[in-house]
């Protein structure tokens, strides 16, 4: 059974950078380019008997943004950590994320080592 980390961001540059930072943590990685794409891919991963261990998600994405993604994801999964990685830094946006069920909020730019530390904290 595979354990997956989801990387959800509309920017390929960001997705590749995040994957590069966390690729040696022993998890399978699946990229998605928005909330809709992520929910579909998560469904497929689970239907094959694998599990989602953690999601790293952007906020500003077309089709489905990060806040809506968390709300949808939380309908079926209350516990898997979702870390937000975004340029958004306003308190009211951060609170929306928290209320939707985010586990943490990282404001870009990120240092790869710091991201790895946060991911480790939530994977324990």
């Amino acid at each position: 059974m595979g354990k997956y980390i989801m990387i959800i961001d509309d920017s390929p540059t960001i997705r590749i950078s995040v994957e590069f930072a966390i690729k040696n943590m022993g998890y399978d990685i699946q990229q998605a380019e928005n909330g809709v794409d992520a929910l579909e891919k998560i469904k497929t991963i689970i239907s094959k008997g694998n599990e989602i261990s953690l999601c790293i998600s952007d906020i500003n994405m077309p089709q489905m943004d990060g806040i809506t993604f968390i709300k949808e994801f939380r309908k079926t999964d209350k516990f898997t950590p979702v870390i937000i990685l975004t340029t958004e830094s306003e308190d009211n946006k951060i609170n929306q994320g928290k209320e939707a069920g985010a586990s943490g909020w990282i404001i870009k730019p990120f240092q790869p080592a710091e991201l790895v530390n946060v991911v480790k904290k939530f994977l324990k």
Partner: protein
């Protein structure tokens, strides 16, 4: 940024200062001046959404490319701010086209400045390649400043080469201040908040 309602263009004009970004879905003009910084204009001709960002990548990018480079990450984030605004207005990077300007070297071509200019040009080329956003116009490098006006609705550019520095001396000062700050904070990273 400053906004003027009645410009010579007959529509609202937004002037960006160094480090600013702005996006709109209204029929307006965004303008700025750049010397060493990069100015990117992004627009979606179908939806009439577009924006401009003014920034610099503060230093040289390593041989491994922009993906794992700390200094490049500063440039990626600068563009992310602009793209975030465009997405919030209903834009989608898959439909965007880019026009890029600037990255000049101004003090009679000192080696250091040429290196910075090269690094910024390389960044912008690699970035748009990875993002798969087509660059319709690339007007980079050279030992001069540029004044850029960008029409958001249709992506039309009015570009002027500035030979006379007096006209834009205030802007030159602001750009130098911005560049200095970016160099001092080149390894910055954002806040981390844990909810549990």
């Amino acid at each position: 940024m400053i906004k003027s309602e009645s410009s010579k263009f007959g529509k609202p004009l937004y002037i960006l200062y160094p480090g600013d970004y702005f996006a709109s879905k209204d029929d307006c003009i965004i303008g700025t001046i750049t010397g060493t910084c990069i100015v990117i204009c992004l627009y979606d001709p179908q939806r009439g959404i577009g924006g401009m960002g003014h920034f610099i990548v503060p230093g040289s990018i390593g041989t491994s490319g922009i993906i794992s480079d700390e200094i490049a990450s500063s440039g990626v984030t600068s563009i992310e701010y602009l793209l975030g605004e465009i997405v919030k207005l209903g834009g989608d990077r898959r439909f965007l086209r880019a026009k890029v300007f600037g990255a000049g070297y101004l003090n009679s071509g000192k080696a250091e400045e040429i290196k910075l200019s090269d690094s910024n040009i390389r960044f912008i080329n690699e970035y748009f390649l990875i993002e798969n956003i087509s660059v319709e116009r690339s007007d980079l490098g050279g030992d001069f400043r540029r004044r850029i006006y960008f029409s958001v609705k249709d992506g039309v550019i009015y570009r002027q080469i500035l030979q006379n520095n007096e006209e834009s001396s205030e802007f030159i000062k602001l750009e130098q201040e911005y560049v200095d700050i970016q160099f001092r904070n080149k390894k910055k990273s954002g806040r981390i908040i844990l909810f549990e």
